[in-house]
């Protein structure tokens, strides 16, 4: 049985509540155990740029919690995924780890460098496996789905080592096997601009519009990051975008295929209504 220390990230209790709900529901259905840990914020590049020692210590604390359970960490956020991968790589250097452990000593914890960091998409596709998911499909989701990867699940390639950064295919593979037809988006690996949302809202919204336009003709866009999801889901409301397109977290669409009720997947919590999509599926 697959078991992971669960790191949903800070947005799971607020803006991305339905991503957390659908992840828990999908894992329960598949028999993947998610163990909650009293995690802290990964700090993102903001804390890293503020003070590297603090940023490493924050990540080391989360890793230490997972180590105590002898489990790897799974996150649902691409930004947390990249940050944790980067911190982990830096702490493979024993001098760096020793320095960080000095800070961890003050809270009675230790990180020994044994933890691996996973993204929920990787857990579904690689660890659990497509074949296993196919066996659990209860209804085919016969819609045109457009995968949107964004940035940090793919780049920098040498840190995240997840998929082909130029031509990713993990989401396509997953979606095709639950019944979807793939609607290609030329901007599927471009940035939604979420990190500059509070600095330059106009540019951010223009970036969002490009991605939405790239997926025109699809019944939904599928995301793997709460920030990308917020950008596209809330962004089209803010823009007053005329061709509304439902934005689904990857676990929401997989959950539909597994026969999980829409409310349990939080499909009523998305800001852009998902009704048009649900009518095609259910």
């Amino acid at each position: 049985m697959l078991r992971y220390a669960y790191f949903p990230g800070c947005s799971a209790e607020s803006s991305a509540i339905e991503y957390d709900m659908s992840t828990r529901a999908v894992c329960e259905k598949l028999g993947i155990e998610l163990v909650d840990i009293p995690f802290n914020c990964c700090g993102t590049h903001i804390v890293e740029e503020y003070d590297e020692c603090t940023w490493l210590a924050l990540n080391a604390r989360n890793f230490a919690l997972a180590e105590e359970l002898e489990m790897d960490v799974v996150t649902i956020c691409s930004s947390c995924f990249f940050n944790m991968k980067k911190a982990k790589a830096m702490m493979e250097n024993e001098d760096v780890r020793a320095k960080v452990n000095k800070a961890l000593e003050s809270i009675g914890r230790k990180y020994e460098g044994k933890v691996d960091v996973k993204h929920i998409l990787g857990v579904l596709v690689d660890d659990y496996g497509i074949d296993g998911i196919i066996r659990k499909v209860e209804r085919l989701v016969e819609v045109k789905a457009s995968p949107y990867y964004g940035c940090l699940i793919l780049r920098p390639e040498e840190i995240v080592r997840f998929d082909n950064a130029e031509a990713p295919s993990k989401m396509e593979m997953l979606l095709e096997n639950i019944g979807c037809e793939i609607a290609e988006n030329p901007h599927k690996a471009d940035c939604c601009g979420a990190p500059i949302m509070l600095i330059d809202r106009e540019s951010h919204l223009r970036m969002v519009k490009k991605i939405l336009e790239g997926a025109s003709g699809a019944d939904c866009i599928v995301t793997v990051c709460p920030l990308c999801h917020y950008a596209l889901d809330v962004g089209q409301e803010v823009l007053g975008y005329e061709r509304r397109i439902p934005i689904l977290h990857v676990t929401q669409i997989v959950g539909l295929a597994l026969g999980i009720p829409a409310e349990k997947l939080g499909l009523d919590k998305n800001i852009t209504p998902t009704k048009s999509l649900l009518e095609k599926v259910i």
Binding site: C10, S11, E13, S14, S15, A16, I17, P38, F39, N40, C41, G43, H45, I46, V47, E49, Y50, D51, C53, T54, A57, L58, R61, K102, A103, L104, S106, I107, R109, G150, C151, L152, R155, P156, E157, D190, C191, G193, A194, P195, I196, L198, I199, D200, R201, E202, S203, R206, M207, K210, V234, E237, V238, D268, K269, N270, I271
Partner: protein, 159 residues
């Protein structure tokens, strides 16, 4: 090869052709910023580096200058020297929330950074929908990790 050595940039513009921010905002032109850095030695407008979205598309740089890392280094300098600019204000607000609560509380961060201006980020109808759908956390509870996180900040500050 010395990574991030700006003098290596030969102005091919690969970074700018790949940059999704440059596509929508002419003010943010990584190639031109590298040229300015080459000629001026140090940075001119500290606001510009906060427009980088950290998407890492410019890693295709054939000269290994990697503008994304150059911008990150410039932000670090602005933060440590306490520059009076919007980016540093954002970082301070973010860090204060993490230090106090242990996790990012989105509403606290927005209010700390933007004050009442935060209202203008979302049209009322969208903000209401967010609240109705349970996506706005208004609670002021500290997370279980808060004490340990505070301690880590303290220890690293004095290291």
């Amino acid at each position: 090869m010395n990574v991030n050595d700006i003098s290596r940039c030969y102005q091919c513009g690969t970074c700018t052709g790949d940059c999704p921010v440059a596509w929508v905002n002419r003010e943010f032109n990584p190639r031109r910023i590298m040229l300015k850095l080459q000629t001026n030695g140090h940075f001119l407008d500290e606001n510009i580096v906060w427009l980088c979205a950290m998407c890492f598309k410019c890693l295709r740089c054939p000269r290994d200058v990697k503008p994304v890392e150059v911008f990150s280094n410039l932000r670090k300098m602005a933060i440590s020297s306490g520059k009076d600019c919007v980016g540093v204000k954002m970082v301070k607000a973010f860090v204060e929330v993490i230090e106090e609560y242990g996790r990012l509380v989105e509403t606290k961060f927005m209010m700390k950074f933007m004050g009442l201006e935060a209202r203008k980020m979302l049209p009322m109808s969208v903000a209401f929908k967010m609240w109705r759908n349970g996506k706005v956390s208004l609670s002021a509870k500290k997370f279980e990790c808060a004490e340990e996180v505070k301690k880590l900040f303290e220890v690293c500050r004095n290291a």
